[in-house]
Amino acid sequence: MTLVDVSAAPALPVRISGVQRRFPAPDGGERVVLRDIDLDIRPGEIVALLGPSGCGKSTLLRLVSGLDRADGGEVTIGGTPVAPVDQRSAVAFQEPRLLPWRSIERNVELGLPRGTARQAGRARVGELLRLVQLGHATGLRPRQISGGMAQRASLARALARNPGVLLLDEPFGALDALTRLTMQDLLLEVHAAEPATIILVTHDVDEALQLADRIVLLGGEPGIPGATIRRVLEVGKKRPRDRGDAQLAILRTELLSLLGVETHHPEDYITKAIKAQRAKRLAEPAGPDA
């Protein structure tokens, strides 16, 4: 990539082992939200956490960010446990959460690590704003820009922290469908320029398929309280990906049926497609990346 930056921190691995999180229930007892979560994330990887609403995706992300603490198990970044408000990670939320009284530029500045020199900080903010295509909007106030622009500013603010791990909590969830697609492409460009490890919470199967190296499906199992990892799918395709790709379509069907969504495909569609896919894989030992 041409946009290499000296101040960008190296991507860091994340290890989640045996993590559990309970919350007090209204009846005075406790409600298990997450249990037995084990996940190893490689440096620079993009992992999507997918699952139905309320399954604990965001809770897991907050545990990694240090905004919340696990009741059991451990989360480490780069081999050391996550600290409360860990400097090595940065979060972007579903809402842009820009301070309305600051300009876009000054909002992004908020993300700079403490003690950054003024000159270097300004240069870095300018660079990041150009990277998220907001170079023209630096002086505007949050109320003067669109939701997509605000979300890009929020992303730039997270990147200003030079995070080894970038945590995105449904960052495009509130955007309209078209903007969401362009934001996905933009995120991939950003990832190429600033290759942090990315953990992305989403409820959008297509988004996960488009962006992630691996898709982690969270959900409950009958009879056991709390959500855990039900499936980890290796997408195994180079990015940028063809949105109409047949293999992705099969994965999509698989994910949707795991999520309990009726796909309205003909009865033998999945089995036929999967069978064809498996036959193809067996025939080509080089792997699906080819």
């Binding site: 842009p96 309305p100 009284w101 908020l110």
Partner: protein
């Protein structure tokens, strides 16, 4: 859009929801341009509504002119006896007389000084108490019942105690004015800080801000509109408490002029004192209003 009702308080617009308006996440592209335009557009409308046009001044001057004419007629045509209602000219003459003797300026000066000093002290204390109670649940539980009870004491009830403790000098008067100014600032600041958008506070925490840095970067800027409207209320209270202080035990000031004129039957001076209080109150309120407009432009 986040729910952000607007309250009209006098000339000022106080935005509900301390965070102010947030951009609509569903708006993109061309619609964004429209949003930007309408944002500018609405401020232009506000400007038109808030004044700057001569018509506003003309409209605002009509009622005082009518009242003056009615006053003139009532006193000159004998609708009301002169010992109850002085003529406008006699009030002007009383003003000229007191001004020539230097008493008027002295009274205005000392009253304004008491108000400004008390207002300043009261605002700072109110801001500190309000921040403490608004930010800390412990301080809230610990302090707010006591502060609430102190606030419930009528202003005049403090006077004998303050005179006993601090004497008839400036201290007791400035203290009473400060007591009057504390509570509006305290109440609005504590209330607004309690309702700062928790998303923004969490954002600040996630980016490593806490304690005083969080307060100055996120929480205080978010409540600036509330602080300013609290200051405005406090200023009105300050004048109120000033007159209370000067009515009961003073040797100069506009409140003293009121009570002295009543005792001497100088109804012209009584009217003069009331008119001067109205004008001074309006001037100081306008000044705070200008400050408010500047602050809202920056922080609103």
């Amino acid at each position: 859009m986040a729910a952000s009702p607007e309250y009209l308080t006098g000339d000022s617009v106080v935005r509900g929801g301390a965070a102010g308006p947030t951009p609509d996440p569903h708006v993109t592209g061309e619609a964004a341009a429209l949003v930007a335009v309408s944002a500018y557009g609405s401020s232009a409308v506000e400007r038109r509504r808030r004044g700057g046009t001569p018509w506003r001044w003309v409209l605002g001057a009509i009622l005082p002119a009518v009242l003056l004419a009615l006053w003139w007629a009532a006193s000159h045509l004998g609708w009301v006896p002169v010992f109850k209602l002085p003529t406008p000219e006699s009030v002007v003459l009383a003003a000229v007389d007191l001004a020539q003797r230097g008493v008027l300026w002295e009274y205005i000066g000392i009253s304004t000084q008491r108000v400004l000093l008390g207002f300043l002290i009261g605002s700072v204390v109110g801001l500190a108490l309000g921040s403490l109670v608004g930010l800390s649940r412990l301080a809230d539980s610990f302090l707010s019942p006591t502060i609430g009870a102190a606030r419930a004491v009528p202003s005049l009830a403090w006077v004998p105690l303050l005179v006993l403790y601090l004497g008839f000098g400036e201290d007791s008067k400035v203290t009473l004015v400060a007591i009057g100014a504390v509570f509006p600032v305290y109440t609005t600041v504590a209330g607004a800080l309690r309702h700062v958008d928790p998303h923004l506070v969490e954002l600040g925490r996630a980016y490593g801000f806490h304690g005083l840095r969080l307060l100055s970067a996120v929480q205080l800027p978010a409540v600036i509109p509330a602080i300013v409207s609290g200051l405005r209320l406090a200023l009105a209270q300050a004048w109120l408490f000033l007159v209370a202080a000067e009515l009961l035990g003073s040797t100069m000031g506009l409140g003293f002029l009121l009570i002295e004129s009543q005792n001497n039957g100088r109804i012209d001076r009584l009217f003069l004192a009331i008119i001067v209080l109205a004008v001074l109150g309006k001037i100081t309120d306008t000044l705070v209003g200008l400050l408010e407009r500047q602050l809202l432009k920056r922080w609103g």
